[in-house]
Symmetry: C2
């Protein structure tokens, strides 16, 4: 497991020598790779951007934002900490995912292949794991489109079970704002968008 | 991915040779051990029960329930699958937790020590990880007190950040029922119960 001291400086931020976990690997199914390629084509004209797959939030948070976040919550650098979703990256049996962002539409699409370490009921993805992926897709939308990083309230309605190893397509968008509050909505669907696995609404708060 | 149709046999279920992950270990802080001992004392008169810490749901689900669940969702046995919360048990840096159940009060208390692999913002527990622990505490309450296993809707309001390595005390209870619907509420507090980290309400569905 890669581990290195982290201090708040520009050296923490995404650099070419930090591995990007959002690139296709041997564990990705043909469906996952197909959707990835489809979205990569949409990045060519600049309308969509592939967000890098970091293993710590400190790598993708902008320095000025990190300082603002530290005013609101007791941010601290812990040497062996790691982004929750990268908890099983070595085995590629946990969260395999990539997030694309569309700035003008204030929207993100996440392609998610849940591995066998995310089990709840036998053979089914744990509600907490799907919830974590929903939360993260909402967070990336809130941060990149509305400068909001604090989750206030999140409501998830689970519609149908996700089978381990299948591909989930999550789409989140900003639906409104009021003061520091940002309202968002997210749908988690099957790769062909014929089955709705879950839908969620959330309120995030912008940094002061 | 190895996969086979579900076979329900006693060999899947909790046996003495299956390790119990809910027992204190060297990673537990004195506060965590103190609360654990406090609740263990409450088990003496039988009012509270310590739930075993399984690493797959198939180990704690009753055989007859597994068959009923399999009628509603595409349950399958995947050889290398593992309960999401046990994803990092080897390093003891993920979800360290124990759940106690009070049958007469239809309530569960979960003692949770989130390790450094559950990071969201730097040094802070990921909302998805806290949400997963809330979901699991609600699930154990719904299953053990009301025979409900399917999460319908869950709403979480995050009140204050949880620092990695601290101890969280979650308490969930059944608040009502209507047909197959079971209503639950959960609070996640600091170990001394002076800080509210999050509160959640949920609707679970009973098995047919």
């Amino acid at each position: 497991m890669p581990s290195q001291p982290v201090t708040v400086s520009s050296s923490n931020h995404l650099q070419s020598d930090i591995k990007d976990y959002s690139l296709p690997n041997a564990s990705w199914s043909p469906v996952m790779v197909g959707l990835y390629n489809e979205f990569m084509e949409k990045t060519v004209d600049g309308s969509w951007t592939r967000l890098p797959g970091c293993w710590r939030s400190v790598q993708f948070l902008k320095e000025k934002d990190l300082a603002r976040i530290a005013k609101a919550v007791p941010v601290q650098m812990i040497e062996d900490a790691r982004l929750f979703l990268r908890i099983a990256e070595m085995e590629r049996l946990g969260f395999e995912y990539v997030i694309f962002h569309n700035d003008s539409e204030k929207k993100c699409v996440c392609l998610f292949q849940p591995g066998p370490l995310l089990e709840g009921l036998p053979g089914i993805v744990h509600g907490g794991a799907l919830g974590t992926m929903i939360d993260t897709t909402l967070f990336m939308t809130a941060y990149n489109s509305a400068n909001a990083v604090f989750t206030g309230t999140m409501t998830i309605t689970f519609k149908s079970p996700v089978i381990l190893g299948s591909v989930v397509r999550l789409e989140a968008k900003v639906t409104g704002a009021e003061g520091r509050k940002v309202f968002l909505f997210c749908e988690a669907q099957s790769s062909d968008r014929t089955t709705l696995f879950a839908e969620a609404s959330a309120i995030f708060f912008q940094m002061k």
